[in-house]
Amino acid sequence: MRRMIEGSRAVAEVVGLCRPGVISAYPITPQTHIVEELSQLVADGDIEAEYVRVESEHSAASVCLGAVAGGVRAYSATTSQGLMLMAEVLYNIAGMRLPLVITGVNRALSAPLSIWNDQQDTLALRDSGWLQLYAEDNQEALDMHVQAYKITEDDRVLLPVLVCMDGFILTHTYETVDMPTQEEVDAFLPLYEPLYELDPKDPYTLGAFAGPEMYEEMRYEIQRDALASKAVVKEVAKDFQAAFGRWMGDVIETYRCEEAETIYVAMGSVIGTLKDWADLRREQGEKIGVLKVRCYRPFPQEELREALGGAKRVVVLEKAVSVGGYGILPAEIRAALYGQPKTPPVHAAVTGLGGRDITFETFDEMQERAQAGEMDFFAGLRTELLEAS
């Protein structure tokens, strides 16, 4: 049913339709309406889940870990500092190969304190073993949660999934979304049947320690399976399209990239603005395309090579800064293209930090500076505010 609702509400409702047995979250640091809406759904008896109101995000992730080990589907949501506090547990969950979905609402990291959007938080967890999906709009965010449970519980994967959606821009915005019915979700995502669970009838030890003779093999396996999970992400996107009739890409989505001279690459909600801007520039005769990285982990290396190899120039927009380095996604795209038959220059533009609006003017600036040959720069920077270095 198509309804005009807030992004957070949409996520809460669809998570409920995924029938988690345990939900655990901490309300602050900061949080979104997702966990409040879920609390209400549980309070009204619309979701039959244990809602564990914990004293920190570290414990929220740990409760989910215990719940999944105990054999139920679990859920949590967090953002920014909360995600940082969870980080230790998130690595642990991935290493223990526990299927779990957490919504990582993208917000800036302190200091300075900011509650607004950028993607520094989830990008900091790129090496954690969590698969990362980035949503362009609320419909995609909603659909991604259903897909994420299907992916994480697949016995070829058994790695947790972080569904990333831009704070405020998506979570606090009302959009029309098509909310699936319980029957539709049940048909796509059957009731959870764990491959392993802590059961006195069939006891096993989970979370043993590994010495140097074994640790590396376990890390190899997690890397092997994470890379291979790309096939499952694609498969689930196709199955989802067959069941729900919606397609927003699998690991990437290309928009007007055919014969594009310049391709803009980004993740999340900025893609919508970029598409509009590309349309405008196309009308003006400039061959601009947009590439959405929908699945950042596993990294879609082959798909990016294929999609970007023919361009004259690539501009990667990143709502994050790898302090002391040269970009996160840009560096990975440069590495992916290196040594290929066609290697377009990859320009890296940092923008939109801490909720700074990204507008057509920002893209205009990027285009101008990229054309002028600048490789790594901040776009939309208010230079008049800068202190002398």
Partner: protein, 301 residues
């Protein structure tokens, strides 16, 4: 010939032999006692620490029951999640959730997590294995390290007599949460530990049992006197055995107090106190602490 009782291990047992604990480990014996009472319809969560390390070097495991280890400071939250999962599946009635953590995992780094579990009322029996320092990593000082003890991070030195603060009184703090059952126990007093374990597992809601477990390498005593060490700690009043129900003290184990020196003397961690007059003044302070416990809980009445 006196009749000898044949002793066999049952593989159905929760905590099995063959693990890698040190000779004379008080904790291993305490866990054995607890798990023998708990039976096999249990799920165990274990914090990082000695017990976790000596019982589960992959691919070996000393656990005959479902067991999970995640991290150092989150065992209470993991146990909360396990309990919530059992509740959701309708299996909580027949299954007991146990959590094990050392004193560092419990009093220090996992304190917030523990308090959250207690306050939320999860049906979990938490056993803190108190050997009074971070033994797994090389005897570093914890919030449970007693006054005067020399550790690798509170060493005795030319200007130091070791740890300068008394033990954190966690059992009283847990009791202040108003949970149904809290007890202190000693690995050395088997029947008492068994009784308290049984009592804890018979109550629904959060339970906390803090078990004093002597540690030969950490405390520096001859490993064959582990049981004696635990008894001396109780008998001198430094480790009062107390039970709380719903925040109130309901029972204490009476003692005929012995001087604290008898407990301190065999231990390397206290030997610097016997070497100077100033050290002896510290022993007098430790005696005052024992006397205060004796008075507070009426241990010798």
């Amino acid at each position: 010939m006196p009749a000898t009782k044949e002793f066999t291990y049952e593989v159905e047992r929760g905590f099995l032999p063959g693990h890698r604990a040190c000779a004379g480990c008080g904790q291993a014996a305490a866990v054995r006692l607890v798990m023998d009472v708990a039976g096999t319809e249990v799920v165990v969560a274990n914090a990082t620490g000695c017990l976790e390390v000596f019982s589960t070097p992959h691919p070996e495991s000393a656990w005959g029951v479902p067991w999970v280890h995640s991290l150092f400071e989150n065992v209470s939250a993991v146990a909360s999640g396990l309990e919530a999962a059992l509740k959701h599946k309708g299996k909580l009635e027949g299954t007991r959730v146990l959590a094990f953590g050392g004193d560092g995992a419990t009093l220090d780094i996992g304190f917030g997590s523990l308090s959250g579990m207690l306050e939320r009322g999860h049906d979990v029996a938490y056993f803190c294995m108190d050997n009074e320092a971070y033994m797994n990593t090389g005897v570093q000082r914890s919030g449970s390290t007693p006054f005067g003890a020399s550790t690798t991070t509170s060493p005795a030195g030319r200007k130091s007599f070791g740890e300068d603060r008394p033990k954190k009184d966690l059992p009283a703090i847990v009791a202040a949460h108003g949970v149904p059952y809290v007890a202190t126990a000693s690995m050395s007093i088997f029947a008492d530990l068994r009784r308290k374990t049984k009592k804890a597992l018979g109550v629904r809601g959060p339970k906390y049992v803090q078990v004093h477990v002597p540690c030969p390498p950490g405390w520096g005593y001859d490993e064959k006197i582990t049981v004696d060490m635990g008894k001396l700690a109780v008998d001198c009043g430094l480790y009062p055995l107390v039970e709380w129900e719903n925040g109130e003290v309901v029972r204490v184990r009476k003692i005929k107090p012995i001087p604290v020196e008898e407990y301190l003397k065999p231990q390397r961690r206290f030997r610097h106190l016997f070497r100077s007059e100033a050290g002896k003044a510290h022993i007098a302070k430790i005696q005052e602490m024992a006397d205060a416990n004796i008075k507070k809980y009426g241990l010798a009445d």
